[in-house]
C-alpha cells in the first residue's frame, strides 16, 4: 500500500480537527470567513471520504485502509483504524452531510458563530473516528467524545428548553455507555490470559469465538449440557447475557429503541437545524452500528436468546413511534418520532439475521440519514421564516413556496418508502427479511414471525399516513394565516443545499447496486457471526474470524523501560 492509502483514513478523520485549529485562530468578528473555511474543510474532507469509499474493494479483506500504531500500551490498546463495508458506507454518509450542514446553518446560526463551527468540525472528527475505530477502547473514546460537541450544539444554539434537553441527552447516553465501559473492561479481562490482553476488536472477538461456539452448542444440546462447560465457555455462559445487556443498553439508548427513546424528541426539537441533521443522520446510526459491529458478534449466544425480546421492542418502537407521530402538532417532534419508527426497522432488520434483513437494515441506515437529514434541513428553512414548529401555524404553503413544497414532497416520498425512492428498497428488504426470518421460532412459535412482519408492515402504512397528513396540513389547503402570505421561496443557497439530498434519493432508489455491493461483504460476515449463536448453523470459519494487521511488536503491557530488578532491593534490616 502506498503512503497515501495508509494514511487516507487518518486524513479523513483528522482533517476537520486540523481545520478546527485554523478556525480557532481566525478572528471571531468575521463570520463569513469562518463559514467559508469550515465549508471548505468539510468539502475537502468529503472528497477524501468519497475517495476512501471508492478505494474500498468489496471483494478484498474485511478491513481495508488499515492503520495501526501503539497507543497507551499499558492498557493493551492501540490506535487501530480501518473500515469494512458498513463503516465505509456510514463514513460516506457522514462526509456527505458535513458541507451541507454548514450551508444549512449559514443564516440559522446568528450568534457565537466561531464556536458553532468549531463544534461542528470537532463533532465531525469524533463521529468519523468512531466509525473507523478497530480498537474497542478507541471506539469508546470517540463514542463518548462526540457527546461533548453535540451537547454544546443543543445547549448553546438550541430552542427555548435547550439546557434541559442538552443535559438529558448527555446524561442518558452517558449512563448507558458507562455500563458498556464496565462490560468492555470485563470482556478485555476474560478474553485473554493476563499478560496478553488487548482491547483490539480482533483480539476480543477471536478470543471469545471458541467459547461462544461451545456455549451455543451446549444450549442447543440436552438439558444440563451447559453444566459441563469449563474455563472461558463457562464464564461466557454465566456472564455473557449480562455483558450483552450492558452493550445492548448503551447502543439501544443511542438508536434509540423504545422505551429508552425519551431523550430523542427533546434533543431533536431543541437542537438547531445542524444538530438535528447530524443527530438523525449519523449519531443514531452509532447505535445500530454498535449492535452490528460489537454487541451481536461478541455475544452471539446471548444475542440469540435476546433476539425475540429486542425484536418485540423494535416492533413496539415502529408502531409506537408512528402512533406518536399521528398525535403530534409539532412538526419537528413528528420528524423526531418518525426517527424512532424508522430506526425500529433498522433494528428489526439486524435482528432478523437474514440476508435481506441485514442488507435492508444497512441500506435503511443510509436512507434514514439522507431522508430524515433532509426533512430536518427543510423544516429548518421553514422555521427560519416563521419561527414556529406548530402545524396549525401553517397551511397552504404550497401556494407561496412551490419549489420548497416540491422538494419536501420528494423527501417525504423517500421517507414513506414510495417505490423508486431509496426508502422503498430499504424498508422492503427489511420486511422481506423479517417475514423470512426465524424470529418466530426463536420466540417459541413459528407463526409469530408473521406477527412481527405484520406489525412492521402496519408501521409502513402508519408512516405514510402521518407524513402525508402532515404534508397536507402544512402545504395544502387554504392560506389561512396572514403571516404566511409573503413567505419567500427557497433561495439559491437553500436550493443547492437540498439538491444533493434529492439527487441521492433518486440515485439510491434507482441504482442501489453500487451501494449494496459495498455493504454485501459486511452483511455476509455479520450474518455468519450472528449465526455463531444459532445452534446447528453451518460453521464458516473464513467468514467468522476477524483478520486484522498486527502491530510490529506485542502491544500488551510492554514495559517501556526496564523494571527495577528485585534483586537490587537491599536485604531487610533486623
Amino acid at each position: 500500500m502506498s503512503f497515501f492509502d495508509t494514511h487516507l483514513l487518518n486524513l479523513v478523520v483528522f482533517l476537520p480537527l486540523v481545520f478546527a485549529a485554523l478556525v480557532l485562530v481566525l478572528p471571531g468578528s468575521e463570520p463569513g470567513q469562518i463559514r467559508t473555511v469550515t465549508f471548505i474543510a468539510m468539502l475537502v474532507d468529503a472528497v477524501f471520504g468519497v475517495w476512501a469509499y471508492l478505494r474500498y474493494v468489496p471483494g478484498g479483506p474485511e478491513f481495508q485502509l488499515e492503520y495501526r500504531v501503539p497507543w497507551f500500551e499499558m492498557f493493551g490498546t492501540s490506535y487501530h483504524i480501518g473500515v469494512d463495508g458498513l463503516a465505509v458506507s456510514l463514513l460516506l454518509l457522514t462526509v456527505f452531510l458535513g458541507p451541507l450542514v454548514v450551508l444549512a446553518s449559514t443564516t440559522y446560526i446568528s450568534h457565537r458563530i466561531k464556536e458553532f463551527h468549531l463544534a461542528l468540525l470537532v463533532l465531525q472528527t469524533t463521529m468519523l473516528g468512531a466509525l473507523v475505530s478497530l480498537d474497542v477502547l478507541l471506539f469508546y473514546v470517540f463514542f463518548e467524545a462526540m457527546l461533548i460537541p453535540m451537547y454544546l450544539m443543543v445547549g448553546v444554539w438550541g430552542a427555548e428548553d435547550r439546557q434541559m434537553a442538552a443535559v438529558k441527552f448527555f446524561l442518558y447516553t452517558l449512563a448507558g455507555s458507562l455500563l458498556m465501559l464496565v462490560a468492555i473492561i470485563a470482556v478485555y479481562f476474560i478474553s485473554a490470559p493476563a499478560g496478553s490482553r488487548s482491547f483490539d476488536y480482533a483480539a476480543l472477538y477471536n478470543g471469545l469465538l471458541d467459547a461462544n461456539r461451545q456455549v451455543t452448542a451446549c444450549m442447543g444440546g440436552p438439558q444440563g449440557a451447559c453444566d459441563s462447560l469449563s474455563g472461558l465457555a463457562r464464564t461466557m455462559h454465566t456472564w455473557g447475557p449480562w455483558l450483552f445487556a450492558a452493550f445492548a443498553l448503551a447502543f439501544a439508548i443511542k438508536v434509540p429503541m423504545w422505551p429508552v427513546h425519551t431523550w430523542l424528541p427533546d434533543a431533536h426539537v431543541q437542537a438547531p437545524v445542524a444538530g438535528s441533521m447530524i443527530l438523525a443522520g449519523v449519531m443514531l446510526k452509532m447505535g445500530t452500528f454498535g449492535f452490528w459491529r460489537f454487541a451481536i458478534p461478541l455475544f452471539p449466544a446471548a444475542a440469540q436468546n435476546a433476539r425475540p425480546f429486542l425484536a418485540v421492542l423494535s416492533v413496539i418502537g415502529i408502531v409506537y413511534g408512528a402512533l406518536m407521530c399521528l398525535a403530534q402538532r409539532d412538526i419537528k417532534k413528528l420528524i423526531a418520532y418518525s426517527s424512532v419508527s424508522h430506526l425500529g426497522y433498522c433494528m428489526l432488520g439486524i435482528l432478523a439475521v437474514t440476508a435481506e434483513g441485514a442488507t435492508g437494515s444497512a441500506y435503511q441506515m443510509l436512507n434514514h440519514g439522507v431522508s430524515t437529514g433532509a426533512l430536518f434541513l427543510l423544516f429548518g428553512f421553514l422555521y427560519e421564516r416563521r419561527h414556529s414548529r406548530l402545524m396549525a401555524d401553517f397551511g397552504g404553503i404550497a401556494k407561496v413556496m412551490p419549489v420548497f413544497t416540491a422538494a419536501f414532497l420528494i423527501i417525504t416520498f423517500s421517507s414513506v418508502a414510495v417505490p423508486g425512492t431509496n426508502g422503498f428498497i430499504g424498508e422492503f428488504l427489511v420486511l422481506l427479511g423479517t417475514f423470512k426470518s426465524d424470529l418466530g421460532v426463536a420466540a417459541g412459535n413459528p407463526h409469530l414471525t408473521v406477527v412481527f412482519g405484520a406489525f412492521a408492515t402496519l408501521g409502513v402504512i402508519l408512516g405514510a399516513a402521518y407524513m402525508l397528513w402532515m404534508v397536507q396540513k402544512v402545504f395544502f389547503g387554504g392560506l389561512t394565516h396572514r403571516e404566511n402570505q409573503h413567505l419567500r421561496d427557497m433561495n439559491l443557497r437553500e436550493g443547492l443545499t437540498v439538491l444533493p439530498f434529492i439527487i441521492l434519493v433518486g440515485v439510491m432508489g434507482l441504482m442501489p447496486q453500487p451501494f449494496l455491493d459495498r455493504l454485501a461483504p459486511s452483511t455476509d460476515r455479520f450474518l455468519a457471526r450472528a449465526r455463531v449463536g444459532t445452534p446447528g448453523a453451518p460453521v464458516q470459519d473464513d467468514q467468522v474470524r476477524v483478520e486484522v494487521m498486527s502491530l510490529p511488536s506485542s502491544i500488551t503491557a510492554a514495559a517501556p523501560s526496564a523494571p527495577v530488578p528485585l534483586a537490587a532491593v537491599p536485604s531487610q534490616r533486623q
Binding site: W71, F72, E73, M74, F75, R112, E115, L137, Y140, V141, E144, A145, L147, I148, Y151, L152, G155, V156, R162, Q163, A166, V167, F170, L171, L174, A175, L178, L179, L181, V182, I185, A186, Y188, F189, P193, A194, G195, A557, A559, P560, S561, P563, V564, L566, A568, V569, P570, Q572, R573, Q574
Partner: protein, 519 residues
C-alpha cells in the same frame, strides 16, 4: 545506643524535600529584609522554581533502585518519587494561582509560600516514611503547615472558622492515628513497617483484638486525611473557608501524600493479617465515599463547595483502587509484585499491580484537574463577596464563554476530566482504576463507581451549562487577567487534554513507580 555514621550520600534521597525546605528558608529569611511596600514578586517565582527543581530531582530519583533511607525510617522507591512529583506539580500550580489571589487581598508575604513549601516537604517525606513514628511526624509537619495556611487570611470569620475546624478535627484524627500506631507497636514490638510483618502474623494468633483495633484506628486516621466518608465532615467547610490556592494544595497534595502513606502502611499490614479484612474495610469505605460524595455534591450551587464534595467522591474512586490491592485468592498469601507482576505473576498479581498504577495515575490526573479548577475559581472570586458567601456561586460562571473563551475552555476541560469523559486524563485514569477493579473481580464496586460517576457528571456539566449556555449577567464584575493564573490554567489544561490522548513518558514512569520497597 550507637550513633550511625551518616555521610552526605545518605541525604541524597531526601533531596526533593531538602530543596523545598531550603526554598522555604530562603523565603523566610529574605522576608525579614523587606519593607511592607517592597515588591514580593520573586517569592512566587522562587516557589515555582523550587517546585520544578524538586520535581525534576524526583523524576531522576525514580530510576534509583529501592533503598532504605536514614536507618530505615524512610525508604526511597519509585513509588515515593512519583508521589513527590505529584506533590511538586500540585505545589507549582497552586503557587502560580496564589500570586494574583494574594495581590488582590494585599496579603503577599513570604510566610505563605514558605508554609506551602514546608507542607509539600512534609508530603514528600510522608510518602517516603516507612516507620510509624516517622509517618506521624510527617503527618503533623504537613498538617500544621496547612492549618496555618487555612487561617492565613485573618479578615472575616470564615478563614478562622475553617482553620479552627481543620485544626480540631485534624488533631483528633492524628491522635486516632497515633493511638492505632501505639496499639500496633504494643502488639508487635516494633514501629518499623518492614520489620513488622513477621511479628504481626504472630500477634494475630495471640492478641487478634489488639491488632484489629490498631489496624482500624490507623485506617480511621488515614480516612480522615483523605476525606473518606464517614470521616469527611470537615472537608466542605475547610475547603470553602481556606484561601483557594491552599484548597488546591490540600485537595491535591495532602490527599496524594495521605493515600501514599496509607497504601504503604496497609501493604505491610496486609502481609501480617488477613487481607480479606482490609478488602472489606476499603470496599465499604469506597462504596460509602463514592455514593455519598457524589450525592452530596449534586445540590451544591457553590462551586468551591461542590469541588470539595467532588474531592470526596474522587477519594472514593481511589479507594476502589486501594480495595483492589487487597484482593487475594482463597488461601493465597498477600503479595505485591510491582513492575515484575506483568511478566511473572498470577492474574491477581497483575490486577494488584494495575491497581497500584491506577492509584498513582489517578492522583496525578486529579492533581491537574482539581488544581486547575481551583485556579479558575480563584480567578473569578472577589474578596468583597466572600462574607456574603456569593464569591463562588455558579452565577459567577454565567456567560464566561463569551467573556473569556479560553478560561471557559480550560474550565470545561477540567470539569470533563473530573467527570471522567474522554478524551481527558480523567477518563484514562478512571479507566485504569476500574480496569484493575474488574481484573480483581470487584465487579459490584466497579458498577457502583461507574454509576456514581455518571451521577457526578451532572454537577460538573452544570458548570459547563452556566459557562456556555447562560447569558452574561448584567453588571458583571470585570475579569482581571493575571499572567501567573493563566500560566497555571494553560499548563493544567494542556496536561489534562494532551495526557488524555498521548501518554508520553508518564506511562513509563508509572510502570516504574509501581515498585514499592520491600515488596
Amino acid at each position: 545506643m550507637n550513633l550511625p555514621n551518616l555521610v552526605l550520600a545518605d541525604f541524597l534521597p531526601l533531596l526533593p524535600a531538602i530543596i523545598m525546605v531550603a526554598g522555604a528558608s530562603i523565603l523566610l529569611l529574605s522576608e525579614v529584609f523587606l519593607s511592607a511596600t517592597s515588591s514580593r514578586a520573586y517569592q512566587a517565582v522562587l516557589t515555582v522554581v523550587t517546585a520544578v527543581a524538586a520535581g525534576a530531582v524526583a523524576v531522576a530519583l525514580m530510576f534509583e533502585p529501592p533503598q532504605e533511607v536514614l536507618l530505615g525510617f524512610g525508604v526511597l522507591d519509585p513509588f515515593s518519587s512519583f508521589l513527590t512529583l505529584v506533590v511538586c506539580v500540585g505545589l507549582g500550580l497552586a503557587a502560580l494561582s496564589a500570586v494574583s489571589f494574594l495581590r488582590k487581598r494585599g496579603a503577599e508575604r513570604g510566610e505563605f509560600y514558605a508554609l506551602m513549601l514546608f507542607a509539600s516537604a512534609g508530603m514528600s517525606l510522608l510518602a517516603m516514611s516507612n516507620e510509624l513514628i516517622t509517618v506521624f511526624v510527617n503527618v503533623e509537619v504537613l498538617s500544621i503547615a496547612t492549618y496555618a495556611l487555612t487561617a492565613y487570611l485573618r479578615r472575616g470569620t470564615r478563614p478562622s472558622e475553617a482553620g479552627f475546624k481543620y485544626f480540631i478535627l485534624g488533631a483528633f484524627s492524628s491522635a486516632v492515628l497515633l493511638y492505632g500506631a501505639a496499639l500496633l507497636y504494643g502488639a508487635t514490638g516494633t514501629t518499623q513497617l518492614t520489620a513488622m510483618v513477621g511479628p504481626l502474623g504472630a500477634a494475630m494468633q495471640s492478641q487478634p483484638g489488639l491488632v484489629y483495633t490498631g489496624v482500624v484506628l490507623v485506617g480511621a486516621g488515614f480516612a480522615f486525611k483523605v476525606a473518606a466518608v464517614p470521616f469527611h465532615m470537615w472537608t466542605p467547610d475547610v475547603y470553602e473557608g481556606a484561601p483557594t490556592p491552599v484548597t488546591a494544595l490540600m485537595s491535591a497534595g495532602v490527599k496524594a501524600a495521605a493515600f501514599a502513606s496509607m497504601v504503604r502502611v496497609f501493604i505491610t499490614v496486609g502481609k501480617g493479617i488477613d487481607p480479606q479484612m482490609l478488602l472489606a474495610l476499603f470496599s465499604t469505605l469506597a462504596f460509602l465515599t463514592m455514593v455519598a460524595g457524589n450525592l452530596l455534591a449534586i445540590p451544591q450551587r457553590n462551586v468551591k463547595r461542590m469541588l470539595a464534595y467532588s474531592s470526596i467522591a474522587h477519594a472514593g474512586y481511589l479507594l476502589v483502587g486501594v480495595a483492589a490491592l487487597f484482593v487475594t485468592a482463597p488461601g493465597e498469601s498477600f503479595r505485591l509484585l510491582g513492575a515484575s507482576a506483568l511478566t511473572g505473576g498470577t492474574a491477581l498479581d497483575v490486577a494488584r499491580a494495575e491497581a497500584l498504577r491506577g492509584i498513582l495515575y489517578y492522583l496525578l490526573a486529579y492533581t491537574f484537574s482539581a488544581v486547575g479548577a481551583f485556579a479558575m475559581v480563584s480567578a473569578l472570586e472577589r474578596r468583597e463577596d466572600e462574607e456574603k458567601g456569593t464569591a463562588w456561586d455558579l452565577e459567577r460562571f454565567s456567560g464566561l464563554a463569551q467573556r473569556r473563551p479560553g478560561w471557559a475552555f480550560a474550565m470545561a476541560a477540567f470539569m470533563l476530566s473530573l467527570g471522567g469523559i474522554p478524551p481527558t486524563i480523567g477518563f484514562m485514569s478512571k479507566l485504569l482504576i476500574f480496569q484493575a477493579a474488574v481484573d480483581a473481580g470487584l465487579i459490584g464496586l466497579t458498577i457502583v463507581g461507574v454509576l456514581s460517576s455518571a451521577a457526578g457528571v451532572y454537577y460538573y456539566l452544570r458548570v459547563v451549562v452556566y459557562m456556555f449556555m447562560r447569558p452574561v449577567p448584567e453588571g458583571a464584575q470585570v475579569l482581571e487577567r493575571s499572567w501567573s493564573t493563566e500560566l497555571a490554567l494553560v499548563l493544567s489544561t494542556a496536561a489534562v487534554v494532551v495526557l488524555g490522548i498521548i501518554p508520553g513518558p508518564v506511562m513509563g514512569w508509572l510502570v516504574q513507580a509501581s515498585t514499592i520497597f520491600g515488596q
